[in-house]
Symmetry: C2
Subunit: 296 residues, 2 copies
Amino acid sequence: MAEADWSHYRALEAVLSEGSLSAAARALGLTQPTVGRQIAELERRLGVVLFTRSPQGLHPTDVARDLRPHAQAMAAAAGALARAASGGAGEARGTVRITASEIVGAEVLPPILARLARAHPGIVIEQVLSNQAEDLLRGAADIAVRMVAPSQEALTARKIGVVRLGLYAHRSYLAHRPAPQSLEEMAGHAIVGFDHETPFLRELLRRLPVSREQFTYRADSDLAQLAAIRAGVGIGFIQHAIARRDPGLVELLAGQLPFELGIWVAMHEDLRASRRMRLTFDALAEGLAGYLAPPP
Amino acid sequence: MAEADWSHYRALEAVLSEGSLSAAARALGLTQPTVGRQIAELERRLGVVLFTRSPQGLHPTDVARDLRPHAQAMAAAAGALARAASGGAGEARGTVRITASEIVGAEVLPPILARLARAHPGIVIEQVLSNQAEDLLRGAADIAVRMVAPSQEALTARKIGVVRLGLYAHRSYLAHRPAPQSLEEMAGHAIVGFDHETPFLRELLRRLPVSREQFTYRADSDLAQLAAIRAGVGIGFIQHAIARRDPGLVELLAGQLPFELGIWVAMHEDLRASRRMRLTFDALAEGLAGYLAPPP
DNA sequence: GAGTTGTTATACGTTTTTGTATGGCTGAGG
DNA sequence: CCTCAGCCATACAAAAACGTATAACAACTC
């Protein structure tokens, strides 16, 4: 089996991600004929048809779909390598890629990262906001802030504490609908919730007398949900510390529905050797601990 | 940060593995000036010094050492990609890479794989014999036979059963030393054991009244240990099913020291879509079950 | 239906990369 | 001490890859 050029794998990954030769060429800083030739050469080397050509783009074959996770793993590793090289091990300089949930990344981390940036101007932060936790080992990110315990080995993880959640609605919603006074009264209300099944959602449905049909607003994006609650679309869960910032939000059934999630910071243990990784890890742990501490 | 050519990463991985530009060039099927230029270009792009040149080869800097795991991750993913492309998903054809311990790979698997090869001549088997279990997710192997429960997510694992171990020595050893009749009499004997600390070794030391100093023969290779016991060097643990094949081996303290290990077959769940992967997985599971079943 | 924007495919000149052929250097073995 | 085998660096010609320009086609907008 003739080992193919790794550059061709990169072209494959780009075409699979972007959906066409032209788009992949733009993403890679190359031209469309070049990417087209690389794909053709790769097909020749592998002895496999990867795409069916069409004027509105390429259509990946089953084989190409099978190859995609491997190509993405290569891309993740390549990114991790470039980041690792972006600063000497002993310097507070270089790039650090952080993954966190959308809520945490947009509502909680910014002030923490701002302090870090002031203290260490040489550190460049890249944020990846997603609810998928799968990618620390693959190198898609260096440090993760997660609401589930990191189960994987070879990870340095620290549990920071727990975030408490409560049910909230905006005044504008409560102007039309009386606030529920008990769990039972939730039955008729509009609820802002998730589109896809998640462990969090299953736990929620187990404890609340609501049905899926009551989720009158659904969005995969937690930030969109938060915005929807703030806009008065319906009732939903918000972290207390975030809800407190908006005086228009009213807590419902206070104390009747205790809900909390653990919060962890994790990174690959190999990265402890790097000063900027340790600094960022510690800044996140310390900053999140301050966020969790109840206000005076 | 100018994204570097992935081919240069490949050159970096090869130079780190092989130790010199010339050796890397041979491994890659290129020439020494080419690899040298690629490394120089990579250093320029990353803005980092990777190697200190010397007449007896290159010496990697600290930075290069930090980059190595990422480069290896890329190499593993590239290999997995090439294997995935080596046969259509629906065909019993292509390459499958199996990792197992040395003992299992050399003593147990061959007949199982021989049956598989007869039934499906299109499947090409690559074996990696090592005691490190870390590499299924990274793509360094497709299927693993392991003596520890696979803890990682995204893995399809099946527990086959348990292998029972016993203490054995060869007749030629017992000709000079009387066979121990109790655990206490083990104290003076020569023991064939492991060089490095392993979970297995710690468990062993906990249960046996022996000290590290009694390990008169140490080897990291389990196969070397097995050969040493067969040659009469000393006493050691062997799987019953393997020991039974050599009439010169005598079991010691039979029944007094029950020792067993679970055995699992695992692969990444993405690979279930491939027919040759499923076939190999099932052949391993079935063959190992037959190996574990006690003879009539 | 004409025009715009998207796509892939092909032809050709140029740039870049690669290989071959060197030379110089160090360390091991006779 | 000398030779030999390993290594890296450099010079130059050959080969491969790249970009530009262009054609052909589909879909969507006006």
